[in-house]
């Protein structure tokens, strides 16, 4: 039996030709750009032995950095999910002067070099900055604290949520809303019971993307974070520090644990998203 015929037995017959070449291409492409580098990462930490990996991962500094990275990314993604949804709603549902301009602004965090964004954010949120000065009298410090980390992560993750929700909202049939109104639902009930459930899968998709982006974010954070070990030091920075100390195995170990946690979380989010989406299909 040839490999091709074995493959054919595994997959459902489809009217669309080209499974072989396209699947082959996908696997090769994925291997070169994702799987190969990541498996190198998976192999690297063990060269100084298992104990070294354990020591690195259980050190308080690493744990604090991981906690900050994932915690701040999660909170930032949550905040983005709420406000990104509102922004997407405004952009889709209302026509106002400057709407297109505003729409174009959404993508700026994608385009701006992250370091530039980081410096700009640090300047604004520092105690003597434009926004930081407003909070300074109340003894709330934003820049150089975990709060600052979160602000930077909100900034970089924001476009993902908006861009995930926008097309779904545009396709949403207004008739369903009208139906809800004729059935006696008020605006709040309509939003809560009709519109939100319909866009929840895309909110989750945007949340996942924003979260993934925020976990790995480096450039914009390090300028505003202050990078105080145990307080405002993110895991990606810790990796760079380990590299500068020529502790490649330690750096790879932190990288690997980040990769594993992210992978599991994204897998769960994807499963949740497709579970919700399937109800209405």
């Amino acid at each position: 039996m040839t490999a091709a015929s074995r493959l054919r037995r595994l997959v459902e017959p489809s009217a669309l030709p080209g499974l072989g070449p396209t699947l082959g291409f996908t696997l090769v492409y994925l291997s070169f750009f994702v799987l190969l580098p990541l498996s190198a990462l998976a192999l690297r930490p063990w060269e100084l032995g298992f104990d070294h990996v354990r020591d690195v991962l259980t050190s308080e500094r690493t744990l604090a950095a991981l906690q900050l990275s994932f915690g701040a990314a999660f909170l930032a993604a949550c905040i983005n999910a709420v406000f990104g949804t509102i922004v997407a709603w405004v952009l889709v549902r209302y026509d106002f002067p400057g709407r297109r301009l505003l729409d174009a602004f959404i993508d700026l965090p994608f385009a701006l070099p992250t370091a530039v964004a980081g410096i700009a954010l640090a300047a604004i949120y520092a105690p003597n900055g434009l926004v930081g000065a407003l909070f300074a009298p109340y003894d709330i410090r934003i820049a150089f604290t975990p709060l600052g980390v979160m602000i930077a992560l909100i900034f970089v993750g924001f476009p993902f949520v908006v861009r995930s929700i926008q097309p779904v909202l545009e396709d949403f049939e207004t008739e369903a809303e009208e139906a809800a109104a004729t059935l006696g639902a008020n605006r709040l009930q309509t939003i809560h019971r009709v519109i939100l459930p319909a866009i929840t899968p895309s909110i989750l998709a945007g949340f996942s993307l924003a979260f993934a982006r925020a976990v790995g974010e480096y450039g914009s954070v390090i300028f505003i974070a202050g990078n105080i070990p145990m307080v405002s030091e993110i895991a990606p920075l810790l990796i760079v520090i380990r590299l500068e100390e020529f502790d490649y195995a330690g750096a790879a170990a932190v990288g690997l644990i980040m990769l594993s946690i992210s992978f599991v979380l994204l897998l769960l989010l994807n499963a949740l998203q497709s579970h919700i989406a399937r109800r209405g299909r």
């Binding site: 049939e173 008739e175 369903a176 009208e178 139906a179 809800a180 109104a181 004729t182 059935l183 006696g184 639902a185 008020n186 009930q189 019971r193 009709v194 459930p197 319909a198 109800r279 209405g280 299909r281």
Partner: protein, 347 residues
């Protein structure tokens, strides 16, 4: 008068879609809004439901000013052409929506809601499909879920926008009969929009025929069919043939053949005669009548159709009894003479 629409006008930007429409519906009446697309019938329905606000005019229901009430307080059931079901809810959840949306004080208990939903799904013959999502239902089933959902709020009026528009011919006919039965059982004042004259003639107690945003004629199906007030009404309700003629002393002369006129005859002079294709005599051989030749004989169906090309201009389908079809074959020379016509002046 239960539902009274008076002098309603509505423009979309500069285009008038409803021009001074006045219409009423009796209690328990089954009223059809009929008209070609763009005639304003759906807009009128949406005005009644409150989904559109008219520029001027009044809509009253049992004396109440409906226009002063927001959509959700009108208690008017609306069934959308494309169902507009909530896709993330099961059939039962869709039907329960209106009950669950009520303010806490008026909301029935959970068990009551469950009972009502099950009764309604039984009424629309969907028992057993409570837990299906709309995507798992056929078009006809979705339409019935939408109907049950609209009935759940015990509407004062039921509005249906092209209720069978998206269904295939057989399902349409079944649902049509079923809807008629349902209407007889519930006795609910029902207004439905359609562009299908057959549907309107079949179902409605009265038909309001709209044209370019204005009412062309309102009456029972019999009135509209047998006493059309204009050429538009005649042509819209059923197949028709238009032939140039000359009116002379109350008789229409079509290609030298005198044809009796039904209804009012216009003054002597040129006019248009309108005939039904099943009221046209077809004869072979010379004599008076429109000269034509047979292009095709179509035998499928309860009666036969002759596809005839009139010399010089146009083609018409003439219906003849099936047993006479054998007399004709393609390329035969024939003469066409309507038995009776209605005549309207050339506009």
């Amino acid at each position: 008068m239960p539902l009274d629409i008076s002098n309603v006008r509505k423009n979309f930007s500069a285009t008038p879609v409803l021009r001074d429409v006045s219409l009423f519906a009796e209690d328990g009446e089954f009223l059809a809004l009929l008209g070609p697309s763009g005639s304003g019938k759906t807009t009128l329905l949406r005005v009644i439901a409150g989904l559109e606000q008219p520029d001027s005019g009044a809509v009253r229901f049992q004396g109440e000013d409906l226009l002063a009430q927001p959509v959700r307080e009108r208690r008017i059931g609306f069934v959308f052409q494309h169902y507009a079901l909530f896709r993330h809810m099961t059939a039962a959840q869709n039907v329960a929506f209106g009950l669950n949306a009520k303010p806490a004080k008026q909301r029935p208990s959970r068990s009551e809601i469950r009972k009502r939903v099950s009764d309604l799904l039984h009424l629309v013959q969907l028992s057993g499909l409570e837990n299906r999502y709309p995507s798992q239902l056929s078009g006809g089933q979705r339409q019935r879920v939408a109907l049950a959902r609209a009935l759940a709020i015990e509407p004062r009026i039921l509005l249906l926008d092209e209720p069978f528009g998206a269904l295939d011919a057989k399902v349409r006919r079944e649902l049509r009969r079923w809807l008629r039965d349902l209407h007889e059982r519930t006795g609910l004042t029902t207004i439905f929009v359609t562009h299908d004259q057959e549907e309107a003639l079949d179902l409605a107690d009265r038909i309001a025929l709209l044209r370019d945003g204005a009412l062309e004629q309102v009456g029972t199906p019999e009135e509209l069919y047998h006493e059309p007030g204009s050429a538009f009404v005649f042509e819209f309700l059923g197949d028709s043939v238009r032939l140039p003629c000359t009116v002379n002393g109350g008789v229409a002369v079509i290609a030298d053949a005198p044809v009796p006129i039904i209804g009012a005859a216009p003054a002597n002079g040129p006019a248009f005669a309108y005939a039904r294709p099943d009221a046209i005599n077809v004869e072979i051989g010379p004599g008076p009548g429109l000269p034509a030749h047979v292009r095709n004989v179509i035998l499928a169906g309860p009666d036969a159709r002759l596809d005839c090309a009139i010399d010089g201009d146009g083609a018409i389908d003439v219906r003849i009894p099936a047993e006479e079809a054998a007399k004709f074959s393609p390329r035969d020379r024939v003469r066409l003479t309507p038995r009776t016509v209605r005549v309207w002046p050339v506009t």
